[in-house]
Symmetry: C2
Subunit: 121 residues, 2 copies
DNA sequence: GCTTGACTTGGAGTAACTCCAAGGCGCTAG
DNA sequence: CTAGCGCCTTGGAGTTACTCCAAGTCAAGC
């Protein structure tokens, strides 16, 4: 699979995928006869994971760490667990903040809604 | 109130507040005799609103638009309503994505958790 | 054999901060 | 009364995580 298709499927841009490879978030992707990246299904699974970690706000440095631990084999599972656990807490906190902001936003909209009605009367 | 206190209360950094003023997100804050910004309570309310909009991912350009509409007076309330409504949709979508990622994260952690246990046996 | 289109690399540009240097003002301790 | 201290000012450089672009390569189709 070429980079365009990998981008389509993962939801990342081709540029971002190249950037991630250069940054060590991906194992170097093998190239075909004409020098193009050739993505295997297992690469796609990994792309999906780091895409989700990124979308939930994990910094790249931490993702690099996670990728390294992953490449080092099974004995790093406890460290990976801890890293993901910390991330989980962070995501939960972010979601709570977003939910609080949504409440305020809802309130503000209802106030504006009433003012709009009054303007029409 | 000086910038340090305003930063403390709003949760933004003093640098960010200055940056926001320069970018037109805030009306120019009046200065005291020694040239320092002097924040009024109404400024704090506004800071809180834009801080929430920003934390929920509204781009600065849109916040500038919102600030302009706000400065223009009551007749812009319908536009402000529309702008906030669009933002509300975006935030809801983001939260839904985060929640989906949280589920995957939860699953991954439980898999790692089991593998950790097996390693200890 | 020439064009088309997707790919390659390296590098510049962008958003939204974040940090730093150089200098000013006003309070207080000596 | 002045030296030091802390907080403030502005302008500008640095950072993160992309995003876009230019110049060149290669395989396939007409």
């Amino acid at each position: 699979m070429r980079i365009a298709e990998a981008a389509e499927i993962s939801g990342l841009s081709a540029d971002t995928i190249r950037f991630y490879e250069k940054s060590g978030l991906l194992e170097p992707i093998p190239r075909d006869a004409s020098g193009h990246r050739d993505f295997a299904p297992s690469d796609m699974g990994w792309l999906d994971i780091i895409s989700k970690l990124r979308r939930t706000g994990m910094p790249m440095k931490e993702m690099q760490q996670f990728a390294e631990l992953n490449a080092m084999g099974k004995h790093t599972i406890p460290q990976r667990y801890d890293l993901l656990k910390r991330h989980q807490m962070r995501v939960a906190a972010r979601r709570a903040d977003i939910e609080a902001c949504e409440k305020i936003l809802e309130h503000k909209l209802s106030v504006y809604g009433k003012m709009k009605e009054e303007m029409n009367v």
